[in-house]
């Protein structure tokens, strides 16, 4: 049976934890609103870009198109771009990314492929370092929260393009949390190289391309400029989604933590009051039985 003093200390410590978690929840909620807006406003650009790409792809390049578009004909070495958070305390956010990455890696390895990783964000990088650290291509930090800029996406895109041109990998896929709602985030895989065109988009583009597009400048030149931008755009989109998801996950996790702390405080207070009552009763009995004995 813990003493009254112990209980009091315990309650106070849970109370101060609750203050911290509820402050973190509030901060995450405020940031989330901005991040969510950014993610939603960033979607049209990425969507249009995909549409333009779909238009170009359905012009049927076969195997002779630019390597960034149709790949280099091989799929031996896979690069996974993993987007996690730099900080923890955001529920299953980092865990689900890490888990997905691990299963993806073992799947690719069982198919006899070589895997390389480009880690964006510290948490997954730390979690996987011991088992997969030797295949890290690079690790980037500090691209998080509400400060994601297009320039960040361009610089990651540059790393990927340089690696691809140097023949370090053949296929590039991004793994990130897609923001669905404040309580749901979806781990998503998006292929960057060769460029992925969804079946729906390809179909709608097919309709559009029955009329022939004019190109200015020539198609090849246009593609050479468009493809790098497409990669940056898709990365930027993934970064925005990922940071909105992170904040949403943190908000939910901190909300739960605050609620749990509240429950714990209630329970501890009950125990505290009971034992206080018991002590008082015990003391009364002692006094009364003492008085009777006289």
């Amino acid at each position: 049976m813990p003493s009254l003093k112990d209980l009091k200390t315990r309650i106070n410590s849970v109370k101060s934890t609750q203050k911290i978690t509820s402050a973190m929840k509030m901060v995450a909620a405020a940031k989330l609103r901005r991040a969510q807006e950014a993610a939603e406003q960033g979607r049209p650009y990425a969507d249009r870009m995909r549409q333009v790409m779909a238009n170009l792809v359905t012009k049927s390049h076969g195997v002779d198109g630019p390597a960034l578009l149709v790949g280099n004909g091989k799929s031996d070495i896979h690069l996974l771009v993993v987007m996690s958070a730099d900080r923890g305390l955001c529920g299953g956010f980092n865990g689900s990314i890490t888990r997905q990455t691990r299963s993806e890696v073992s799947l690719l390895r069982s198919e006899g492929k070589t895997v390389k990783l480009l880690m964006v964000g510290r948490k997954s990088a730390d979690a996987l370092r011991r088992e997969l650290g030797e295949v890290y291509l690079d690790q980037l930090e500090g691209i998080q929260g509400t400060s994601v800029s297009f320039a960040d996406a361009v610089s990651i895109g540059k790393i990927i393009r340089n690696g691809f041109e140097a023949g370090e990998f053949d296929v590039c896929t991004v793994i990130y949390n897609k923001f669905v709602s404040a309580i749901t985030q979806e781990v998503t895989l998006a292929r960057l190289i060769p460029a992925e065109v969804g079946p729906g988009e390809a179909a709608s583009a097919n309709e559009a391309s029955t009329v022939n597009y004019d190109y200015e400048p020539e198609e090849d030149e246009l593609l050479a400029n468009l493809l790098p931008r497409n990669i940056s755009t898709q990365l930027f989109n993934a970064l925005l989604e990922s940071s909105a998801s992170e904040l949403a996950a943190r908000m939910t996790a901190m909300d739960n933590a605050t609620r749990n702390a509240g429950d714990l405080i209630d329970r501890l207070t009950l125990v505290y009051n009971r034992s206080r009552q018991a002590t008082i009763t015990k003391e009364l009995i002692e006094i009364i039985s003492g008085a009777e004995a006289v």
Partner: protein, 117 residues
């Protein structure tokens, strides 16, 4: 016959413009081109320059972009630009302060916008 074409100017951060217009003049890499309703489908790369929106034969809006792509269909013009500024809302002093704080590539564009005012 349609009298307007749907103009959309989209940057990674947001949809900047979305409205029906009579004519758009865009800075293609091979020279300026105008787009009227029912223009033939065209995919063009754009250079740094000014997009002019015409209404009743007059320029009503001007936007400066730092290169990009225009996807023209008979019904719509979609312009994808990494950076864009509304020249009517921009203010040279403000642009220069932003340019000083921005990374080099962006600063360069902002100064160019300030110069074009």
């Amino acid at each position: 016959m349609a009298k307007t074409t749907q103009l959309e100017l989209v940057t990674p951060a947001r949809v900047m413009v979305q409205k029906a217009v009579e004519m758009v003049v865009a800075p293609g890499v091979e020279g300026l081109f105008g787009v009227l309703p029912r223009h033939a489908p065209l995919l063009a790369e754009l250079a740094r320059g000014v997009i002019e929106v015409h209404e009743n034969g007059k320029i009503v809006n001007r936007y400066m972009i730092d290169g990009g792509f225009a996807d023209v269909t008979p019904e719509a013009v979609t312009i994808l630009a990494e950076r864009a500024e509304d020249l009517d809302a921009a203010d040279a002093a403000d642009l220069n302060t932003r340019a000083d704080a921005a990374p080099e590539v962006e600063a360069d564009f902002l100064r160019a916008v300030a110069a074009a005012l």
